[in-house]
Symmetry: C2
Subunit: 272 residues, 2 copies
């Protein structure tokens, strides 16, 4: 992949890159379509990255379907799918990590303390291998997008990072490979994430500015489903991800909820 990318660059071709963990859905395809429009060559990667899963998380169970993924990638014009394996990405003696000091602290970093180190490290590796001019990440993983933007700036990757809007099912559920874990009877509880975000937007439109009041209302709604366990609900600055007390400027509301055994995340802009 690295030598192929070098050839492409020497031939003057630009590269767009969409890294994924596979089990593709419409959300991934929307990112690939953005990439397709922005460069000569479109590269996607499929790699379930072990270093971003903690023991006890769902690394082994994470859904995989390479043949279906390759067909879907082809259908949206991906030129190259890069599918490394674990031993190639993490050779004997591997010990180098990319980590950020502040952005990973809150939100998902609270319950997944090694997650963003794993993400930043594997994305740095993939960037070095694929050598893209632009890379596309979903806004659904909002903290991840902020981490990647900061890493690219801090380490001078010289890659344009593009955020792609969250794609939702008809009922509002944010698309995620982990939705495959949901049992049919858990669906109403899963929808409470999106409903709480919409309700929060409506409160802000109606003049509410107090973050604690908005969060409390979201909490009440989500907790009304017995199967739900709230990990966090936050209203944060979109760049620094620091908690905001008042929605007096553009803010991002983000939440993580365990619906039965399935951890879901979602987020939405507030106040603009």
């Amino acid at each position: 992949m690295q030598s192929r990318a070098g050839q492409l660059k020497r031939a003057g071709r630009t590269i767009a890159f969409v890294p994924t963990m596979g089990f593709l859905h419409e959300g991934h395809l929307s990112l690939m379509r953005i990439g397709r429009e922005r460069a000569d060559t479109l590269v996607a990667s499929i790699f379930v990255n072990p270093t971003q899963f903690a023991p006890g998380e769902d690394f082994e169970a994470y859904p995989r379907d390479m043949q279906r993924d390759l067909a879907m990638a082809r259908s949206v014009g991906v030129d190259i799918v890069f599918t490394p394996d674990d031993t190639m990405m993490y050779a004997q003696g591997f010990q180098t990590y990319v980590s950020l000091e502040e952005l990973p602290r809150g939100l998902c970093g609270q319950s997944r303390p090694i997650f963003f180190r794993g993400v930043a490290t594997v994305v740095a590796k993939l960037f070095n291998i694929v050598g893209p001019d632009i890379a596309v990440f979903g806004e659904k993983d909002f903290q991840q997008l902020a981490v990647i933007r900061r890493m690219v700036k801090d380490l001078n990757f010289g890659i344009e990072i593009v955020g792609g809007p969250t794609v939702r099912e008809a009922d509002g559920l944010a698309m995620s490979s982990r939705n495959a874990y949901l049992r049919p009877e858990e669906r109403p509880a899963a929808l409470s994430l999106h409903d709480a975000l919409r309700q929060s937007q409506a409160m802000v439109r109606a003049g509410e500015r107090r973050a604690d009041a908005i969060i409390a209302a979201a909490e009440r709604h989500i907790a009304s489903f017995a199967v739900n366990t709230i990990d966090y609900i936050a209203i944060a600055d979109p760049d620094t991800l620091e908690d905001m007390a008042s929605v007096d400027r553009p803010a991002r509301m983000a939440l993580a909820v365990k619906v039965g055994a399935t951890r879901l995340i979602d987020n939405m802009a507030l106040g603009r």
Copy 2:
């Protein structure tokens, strides 16, 4: 620099890179000569990197002489000297670091715990900016060379790392910008590092294999100068830098000594 490097690559030119902290001496020039032979374009950087100095170390005092450095670089055929400043390299909100888990633990990492994180981070940044095909580092900073090799492999930089032999003064003192700190009366004590290494090589050639006996003899010699304070003397595996008990295969002897107020390091191959 980054956009210039992109142009060079699109034009099919290869880039060799020698990162330095300036105050150049014959050791740096020898690395530049190696780079000059190995690529079409030779880039050197001069940047005294603040993140690899701890509070109380010599960041402010570190010797600087840009005009002299530029003339010396020109004299050995450097095409581009990259001279960023602190605020450009570490913008507001900087928070991303590259760190290694094991290689930085011993040797210089013991007394300089943040040093290798600072080195790995700035070298990763410089690699992304300069985009070299090969980069040349001095064997004088042996642990640094091992850290950079491992980082390049782990993060897939796709850059060939070349180690350049240590260049010495006529009396054996390893060249270092910090030699400028030495007072004339400290010179004999400073030479004890090289003498101890040569003495250790002779012991191994004479059949001694016990690392502790070799280290004890080196210690006695260096400590015979009252102005010296030994930081460490180690015999280590050249790749993992782990301590070796017996010199029954190629080993590296490395040491760090404070000569008065000046911390010096040196190293040599043993047993081959």
